[in-house]
């Protein structure tokens, strides 16, 4: 006895709606032009190039601060997303009931090569997520997935569940 699977459009709509609600409400994501691409539960952060993101006009290269913000945004989004995934799947949560976002405790960015004036991509992995603390690693690249231009590790305080 198995239930009939849900139509694919219904699933996609629910997942994309949840993602949009999660990221769409963060003004700083809009300010930097960051959005997320979703494949199943896998998220890829995208920061399209724009002149505003330049830090070194002589090279030119992306600003280290913009890169740090992009990585931190990707880490927080992945962490929230993985925390909400089960509830979203079971249709048990609506965007109005989303818990508060995790708070950054510390964030360490490793700048591997200068960011070129073109689009950047990032994916995060939650290495540990407990009731109170989480550790997240994030990698960013531009043209080649294997040639990272920055990576980061951050620790986060989880929102209390009540």
């Amino acid at each position: 006895m198995s239930r009939k699977p849900e139509p694919v459009q219904v699933i996609k709509q629910r997942r994309d709606g949840a993602l949009k609600a999660l990221v769409g409400r963060i003004p700083y994501a809009q300010f930097l032009g960051i959005h997320f691409d979703r494949r199943g539960d896998e998220l890829t952060g995208i920061m399209p190039f724009k002149e505003d993101l330049i830090g070194n006009p002589v090279l030119p290269a992306l600003h280290g601060g913009a890169i740090a913000a992009f990585l931190e945004m990707t880490a927080i989004t992945e962490l929230s997303w993985s925390m909400l995934w089960a509830d979203i799947e079971h249709g048990e949560i609506s965007p109005e009931d989303f818990p508060r976002l995790p708070k950054t405790i510390d964030f360490t960015v490793d700048y591997l090569r200068s960011g070129l004036p073109r689009d950047a991509y990032a994916r995060a992995r939650v290495n540990r997520s407990g009731r109170r603390y989480a550790s997240v690693h994030v990698e960013a690249w531009q043209d080649n997935r294997t040639k990272l231009f920055a990576q980061a590790t951050g620790h986060f305080l989880m929102p209390s569940k009540d």
Binding site: P27, Y28, I54, A61, R100, T104, F107
Partner: protein, 160 residues
């Protein structure tokens, strides 16, 4: 104090497109130190429920401020890049308050500059965040002022 160096640092900082986008202001520059400020702006909010600005905006200010401290160091070239930046967030910045960051380049070797920085809102007793960073470094090159003279022009698009 190396006046040409600090003037150059100030000019460079004020020409950065991302610094301009965040409306960062140079509050002070000296030999191996810098102070930058950033006003509260609703576009920088990271938590819509509290109006607290995103950690990334603080990171951008701190990274820029650390870079400025390296650039203004009398022994170093005015060109640098971040190798590593660690930020510890002690508390949320109070909404509607200006952020001030002070960075100090406390040690330099032939190839690395070590920097620490602290960010405050209006409560100067309780820092919002601290940072430690390593930047690339090379010896001061007398040709730098020539090379950087046209930074303003490159920003306008001649190089980009």
């Amino acid at each position: 104090m190396n006046e040409q160096k600090t003037k150059l640092t100030r000019q460079f900082m004020e020409a950065l497109p991302h610094g301009k986008a965040l409306d960062m202001q140079v509050a002070g520059v000296g030999d191996g130190w810098a102070e930058l400020t950033m006003d509260y702006d609703e576009r920088f909010i990271g938590d819509p429920e509290t109006g607290v600005i995103h950690g990334g905006a603080i990171s951008a200010l701190m990274d820029t401020c650390c870079g400025a401290a390296v650039m203004s160091h009398p022994q170093l070239a005015t060109i640098t890049a971040t190798i590593d930046l660690r930020i510890d967030y002690m508390r949320s910045a109070t909404p509607h308050q200006r952020i001030l960051c002070r960075a100090e380049c406390y040690h330099v070797t032939r190839s690395v500059a070590f920097v620490r920085a602290t960010a405050y809102d209006e409560d100067m007793e309780n820092p919002v965040a601290t940072a430690t960073a390593a930047f690339t470094a090379s010896a001061n090159d007398p040709r730098d002022p020539e090379r950087l003279k046209n930074v303003g022009d490159t920003v306008k698009g001649t190089v980009l």
